[in-house]
């Protein structure tokens, strides 16, 4: 049994191939959460059913993205599936897991000083911006994709880097710990805007390139009746349209929350001054 999925230069077949590392990590994530719940329950701290569902959903998406068949197709045959994995690892797994953890659990998780200081460093907006986009750009450089995807260690490193960049990104947006002084809504919207711009770079290369960018997918055995260029353009659309829609969607949610928050604050101010203008 392999630790992680890497590129295999052979014809696709539908033989089920589990990956030990994926099952181990998914299992550990669930055990850690259950242990956290038990620890909290003894102290009168609880997780809601919605939080539990969200966390388990995040782990399930991680498992789907990293295990057979999605990972096997993405590593060896289709760039579009590789990009779908990126979207799942970055835009689905981290927010579901962060939503799933109540603040007391996150505080407990970040109780150790070295971990907390590391987390604080990556929670700085500029560091987060550079980390998220740096990982995005570097992990899509042809030499990196062609070189790392062929080994289990390389493939594992890239997938973990994606998940990490997702947590760094979503921490800014979801701001789960108020005492960590999260960015103001306006700042968060600008943060999203900057990320929207950077994702355009790899997507543009994929869309406008006349020839396949990655030798791994160009020279792979055919899969799904797609030409390499069609597959590459679908990958670009997944990154740009799906990724872009998610970012724009989050932007809209943040904007309305900002608006609602200001509305509530405005009502309070006006009530205190004895001149309520909103009814």
């Amino acid at each position: 049994m392999n630790w992680w999925c890497s590129a295999q230069n052979q014809r696709w077949d539908w033989t089920w191939t589990p990956y030990l590392g994926v099952w181990l990590i998914a299992g550990l994530l669930i055990i850690a959460y259950v242990s956290g719940r038990v620890w909290g329950k003894r102290r009168g701290l609880y997780c809601s059913g919605r939080q539990l569902a969200s966390y388990v959903g995040g782990v399930a998406v991680f498992w789907i993205a990293a295990d057979w068949p999605l990972a096997a197709i993405g590593a060896s045959y289709l760039l579009s599936v590789h990009t779908l994995q990126y979207v799942l690892f970055v835009f689905a797994v981290p927010p579901l897991m962060i939503w799933g953890m109540p603040p007391w659990m996150l505080r407990r998780l970040l109780a150790s000083k070295p971990l907390a200081s590391l987390a604080r460093m990556f929670s700085r907006p500029l560091v987060a911006l550079v980390t998220f986009n740096g990982i995005l750009l570097v992990s899509h450089v042809p030499r990196v994709v062609d070189g790392l995807t062929v080994t289990q260690a390389g493939s594992f490193a890239v997938n973990m880097a994606w998940v990490f960049s997702g947590f760094v990104f979503w921490w800014q947006i979801l701001a789960p710990l108020p005492e960590w002084k999260p960015m103001h809504y306006g700042g968060r919207l600008l943060f999203l805007l900057a990320n929207l711009l950077v994702t355009t770079i790899p997507a543009s290369f994929l869309i406008f390139s006349e020839y396949p960018i990655y030798s791994l997918y160009e020279l792979a055995p055919p899969f799904g009746g797609l030409s390499t260029i069609q597959d590459q353009r679908i990958a670009a659309m997944i990154m740009k349209i799906l990724g872009g829609l998610i970012i724009v969607g989050i932007g809209a949610v943040l904007f309305f929350r900002w608006n609602r928050k200001d509305g509530v604050e405005g009502d309070l101010v006006d009530s205190a001054g004895g001149k309520p203008v909103r009814t």
């Binding site: 999203l192 929207l196 006349e210 396949p212 160009e218 020279l219």
Partner: protein
């Protein structure tokens, strides 16, 4: 502390900037003819064009030497059930020729000789090649005859892996032999040749002149 109107203004500006960027982002967006400049693998000794007649997919005799005279000719030995090398080569070459100026592409002939004539009927061969390019030429003949041709080109003969019943694989050379208009092959292109390599070399090769 920001005032109410300033806050409203900031919100409107941020929303406007965000929306505008989203829209912009979603919309945005001769050389030498010496062998040394080419990306194929140069043969130590150029091969003369082989002289053979095989059956094409219409069932007619195809005289390889005379039919390809004056064309840049890409000769490949493969089979339609091939899981990897053959479709990758054919798809790559077809894609490059599609993107090429017709003045260049029209001077190129792609010929595939099947090493699996039992399963590659003329119809099957034609249908398979049409997936890539309808101008590709498919040839078939007795396996013994195909072996002789390959032998003349110093190529290893096809090897059938009969352990898999009717769903067998056939071992075959993975390189494409390229004959220039002097009726000689100076270069071969192994499996792993990328589309950008073909796109780089083909325009040079159609006009190539070689020192004898």
């Amino acid at each position: 502390m920001t005032t109410g109107p300033t806050r409203e203004m900031a919100k409107v500006l941020t929303a406007g900037l965000f929306g505008l960027t989203s829209v912009l982002v979603s919309c945005g967006s001769g050389g030498a003819r010496r062998p040394g400049d080419l990306r194929g693998v140069e043969l130590p000794v150029a091969l003369d064009k082989v002289d053979f007649v095989l059956q094409d997919t219409e069932g007619k005799g195809f005289d390889f030497r005379s039919e390809t005279e004056g064309y840049l000719t890409l000769l490949f030995f493969g089979y339609t059930n091939c899981p990897d090398v053959c479709p990758v080569h054919m798809a790559g070459i077809a894609s490059v020729l599609r993107n090429m100026e017709s003045s260049v592409a029209s001077r190129v002939k792609v010929v595939m000789v099947t090493v699996d004539p039992d399963r590659d009927t003329p119809r099957r061969l034609r249908e398979w090649l049409d997936n890539f390019d309808t101008s590709f030429i498919g040839l078939r003949g007795d396996l013994s005859h195909v072996r002789e041709i390959m032998n003349a080109l110093n190529m290893a003969p096809p090897a059938v892996d009969s352990s898999q019943g009717t769903n067998y694989l056939v071992g075959h050379p993975s390189q494409v032999i390229v004959y220039t208009t002097d009726n000689r092959a100076h270069l071969v292109y192994p499996h792993g040749t990328r589309q950008r390599d073909w796109a780089h070399d083909i325009p040079m090769l159609v006009d190539a002149t070689w020192d004898s």
